[in-house]
């Protein structure tokens, strides 16, 4: 039998198989991209640094974030999710991560930005360890492709210190 339906079925199957292949190759081309993003974060002000009634330290910061994530974008990139986390060490836990700010970057044109903001999410420690604490600000990002594998990486900015006294 070589009917209309048979030919349509064969064409559809073959077309979708090839589409799968070209999407896989498109995803593979992402691995050839070697991005060189840059980030600078300034802590402009510690607006508020208190111990909550339940004993946890809370900080409220004003930040100036400038970043150039344009090299993360390839032809197969749908969007980039980026978030800035404060990372520090306490006697109880070797790594504490607190997300302070995040953003979804929809296009390459929006990937170079400078933003002046206070922390979007509350910077609260589990305990009272933040006085005089040295911490890193780390920009994490997840590159979401149109097809294929998702990439994630980060850039660590060390050398920030919280004040020794509550204010």
């Amino acid at each position: 039998m070589h009917s209309f339906g048979y030919r349509l079925n064969a064409l559809f199957t073959f077309a979708v198989t090839i589409l799968g292949f070209i999407c896989a190759i498109a995803s593979f081309t992402d691995t050839l991209n070697s991005p060189s993003p840059s980030v600078q974060v300034q802590v402009l002000n510690v607006n508020w640094f208190q111990k909550q009634p339940n004993g946890n330290d809370e900080v409220y910061l004003t930040l100036n974030i400038s970043a150039d994530l344009q090299t993360l974008f390839t032809w197969n990139t749908k969007q980039v999710f980026a978030f800035l986390a404060a990372e520090y060490e306490t006697p109880k836990h070797p790594l504490n991560q607190i997300s302070l700010w995040d953003a979804i970057i929809p296009t390459k044109e929006h990937a170079k930005f400078t933003i002046h903001t206070s922390n979007k999410y509350r910077f609260v420690d589990q305990g009272s360890n933040l006085r005089g604490k040295e911490f890193n600000l780390t920009l994490h990002w997840h590159v979401m492709p149109k097809t294929g594998k998702m990439f994630a990486d980060k850039l660590v900015l060390p050398g920030y210190r919280l004040p020794a006294q509550y204010r």
Partner: protein, 93 residues
């Protein structure tokens, strides 16, 4: 669609789809536009559908040559022998 036409349709489908896939990928990669790739490939699939799915006249250039009816009459079909039914019954017993 005759035998040669079927072969031609099959080969045309495969070659056209592969060619459009290569063109679409190349164009999409060069212009850095995923959308371009998908649009070119979709166009290619539609064109291939139009070329290879309907029964176009050029798929029928090699019609099968059936025997003339008078030729067939000279070689009659062998008649089913009348003892077949009887044999089957005997096996059942």
């Amino acid at each position: 669609m005759d035998w040669e036409g079927q072969k031609l349709a099959e080969q045309l489908m495969q070659i056209l789809l592969l060619a459009f896939a290569v063109i679409a990928f190349g164009a999409g990669y060069i212009t850095a536009s995923f959308q371009t790739m998908i649009l070119i490939y979709a166009g290619g699939v539609i064109l291939t559908t139009l070329v290879t799915i309907p029964n176009w006249p050029f798929f029928n250039h090699h019609p099968l040559k059936w025997l003339d009816p008078s030729e067939a009459e000279k070689h009659p079909k062998p008649e089913p022998s009348s003892n077949v039914a009887a044999k089957k019954k005997s096996i059942k017993k």
